[in-house]
């Protein structure tokens, strides 16, 4: 049983032009992906491929216009109100820009405490906060800090601690490292890997960067213009890409040892 799977998931945006006309943009067409338990899979695509739309669909920030999303084999597409809230406790999302995803007016402690309170954590809050910070390799002294006092990598780690506080089963990471310095990326990626291994959380890693995605994922979906053009085992896709677009992506991946 897959923990999360989609069936012909589609999303069409309708932009209104005043009262009469409306224009449709198909952002996603018949997406079928599945995520097994304790798995870390990757979704790769250039901007405009619809990968961010997919992420937002999976956490109910958008509603699909066609197809279904199954969580533990239960169709959640029709969920409303309370059910959505309940579902969101199981699935969390990491945003691209850690400068924007933390509230500048609140401390690190607040960011981790709120989800704990909201998910009615019964243990000792203080201990739990320290525990979560420890999980993302930050020490207690960071509790009182504000986002602007942290570096990009630290912010992203605080954000990860915030999502973990909800105790999700699935994590959707939308470009979690593309705004960070190259030197920090590995750190966040190992963290993702550790979250998968130690906490048993299934992760979908969404990115345009084949370098990082090939390092930590077991399976890949390659997206292009709202469709999945290739999927399968990461190693075999990297070594024997069958789709033309995938080949181009691989060729364009930056590499210091390859002259431009």
């Amino acid at each position: 049983m897959s923990i999360l799977r989609t069936e012909n998931l589609s999303k069409t945006f309708i932009s209104r032009h005043g009262i009469i006309a409306a224009e449709k943009t198909e952002a996603l067409k018949d997406i079928n992906i599945r995520l097994e338990e304790k798995e870390l899979i990757g979704i790769v695509g250039a901007s405009g491929s619809g990968k961010s739309t997919l992420a937002k669909l999976l956490v109910f920030l958008y509603r699909p216009t066609g197809g279904k999303i199954y969580y533990m084999d239960e169709d959640i597409t029709k969920y409303r109100g309370k059910d959505v809230k309940k579902y969101r406790k199981k699935i969390q999302m990491v945003f691209q820009d850690p400068y924007a995803s933390l509230d500048p007016n609140h401390s690190v402690e607040w960011h981790i405490k709120r989800p704990l309170i909201l998910s009615r954590y019964n243990g000792d809050l203080d201990n739990r906060i320290d525990e979560l910070l420890d999980m993302v390799t930050l020490n207690k002294s960071y509790r009182a800090k504000f986002p602007h006092q942290l570096s990009g990598g630290q912010r992203q780690r605080v954000y990860l601690a915030r999502t973990l506080a909800v105790s999700p089963e699935v994590l959707i990471a939308d470009e979690p490292v593309s705004m960070l310095d190259v030197s920090v990326r590995i750190e966040i990626l190992t963290l993702l890997q550790r979250i998968k291994e130690q906490l048993g959380i299934s992760i979908i890693y969404i990115t345009h960067d084949l370098n990082t995605v090939s390092m930590i994922t077991s399976r890949l979906y390659v997206m292009h213009q709202g469709m999945v053009v290739e999927n399968g085992d990461t190693d075999s896709i990297i070594n024997r890409p069958s789709n033309e677009y995938t080949r181009k992506l691989i060729a364009a991946a930056p590499n210091p040892y390859k002259r431009i």
Binding site: D181, A252, P254, Y257, R259, I260
Partner: protein, 327 residues
């Protein structure tokens, strides 16, 4: 271009904060010089100083930037203005914001040529030749910037910077925010243009893979000073500073598996609390006690053109190699 002993920083409410410390470098003709460093290494400040576009609260304490025998920093505003866009040019980071959002591209090109007193008859030929360089169709001219994709806008910006055929160009993170394929295409174009027109380019980026891919010579910045510089091949194969070595090691690459030894520890330097001794020692894997006392000077390796600023070269390098063999 020659840069001598630049000291620059920012005025703040808590006083002056020094960023660039005694930075000197020479840019040879007809090459791409890459300047690399993490965010907060002072590389953007350096870019602004090189172009003399460093503005308050930024202040330049001392130093000179010699371009074609003249000091850019001492030039009269009008002289400098005439130079810009014609002799020396700048391609900024965020192309989406670099174009005036409420003017058609064509008019922005016209403005550029009016600013430099180009004859009206030459307008169209100049525009079409520079668009050709960046492989854009002429119909983009009648669009507003927001109607174009990010990659196209970046190309327009490049075309505009090259419009009056300058020979010296500074690129400040020109491909940030673009996705890999577009980035790759644009870099290929830049390289091609540089080769065909014989341009001198200073390429500034935090993205090491790209930087090493495109540059002929490289300057590594850390904490507002140069820690290593030299030919790209030398730096890639035989880094003399642990910073370069650790950064290169931390680059994610297709086909490799992740491994915790790749992690670069610590965070970029905070200009308010600069460590004693070698700036890099708190993050260095090879630091010894003396590193926290002695601030190393810039030294030459045997290769002459290869400069480094480390107390422990070449010992650490040997250790690193042994380690690599051991594991």
């Amino acid at each position: 271009m020659e840069v001598n002993h630049i000291n620059a920083g920012y005025e703040s409410e808590n006083g002056y904060i020094s960023v660039l410390k005694d930075v000197s470098l020479t840019v040879n003709r007809d090459i791409i010089l890459g300047i690399a460093g993490e965010s907060g290494s002072g590389k953007s400040t350096l870019a602004a100083v090189l172009y003399n576009s460093f503005r308050y609260p930024g202040t330049i304490r001392s130093g000179e930037v010699i371009f074609d025998g003249k000091n850019l920093l001492k030039m009269k505003p009008n002289e400098l203005r005439k130079l810009r866009g014609t002799e020396i040019s700048f391609i900024p980071q965020a192309a989406m914001n670099a174009l005036n959002p409420v003017k058609k591209i064509r008019l922005q090109f016209y403005d550029m040529m009016i600013a430099h007193n180009i004859k009206e008859n030459d307008f169209d030929s100049k525009i079409s030749s520079s668009l050709e360089l960046v492989r854009l169709q002429e119909n983009v001219l009648d669009n507003f910037p927001h109607e174009l994709s990010g990659g196209m806008r970046q190309r327009v910006v490049i075309a505009m910077s090259l419009l009056l055929s300058p020979k010296f160009i500074i690129l400040d993170e020109p491909t940030t925010g673009l996705d890999v394929m577009v980035e790759h295409d644009i870099l290929l174009d830049i390289k091609k243009i540089q080769r065909t027109l014989g341009l001198t380019i200073v390429f500034i980026s935090h993205d090491l893979p790209i930087l090493f891919g495109i540059s002929d010579a490289i300057v590594m910045m850390y904490g507002g000073e140069i820690v290593e510089s030299g030919d790209y091949e030398d730096l890639l194969r035989n880094p003399a500073h642990p910073y370069t070595y650790q950064l290169l090691k931390s680059i994610p690459l297709i086909g490799t598996k992740i491994d915790s030894s790749m992690i670069m520890k610590g965070i970029a330097i905070d200009f308010n609390h600069i460590p004693h001794g070698c700036y890099f020692h708190p993050r260095c894997n090879f630091a010894v006690p003396k590193c926290s006392d002695i601030h190393p000077e810039l030294k030459q390796t045997d290769g002459k053109t290869h400069l480094y600023r480390c107390n422990r070269y070449p010992e650490w390098s040997r250790n690193a190699k042994l380690e690599a063999i051991g594991t």
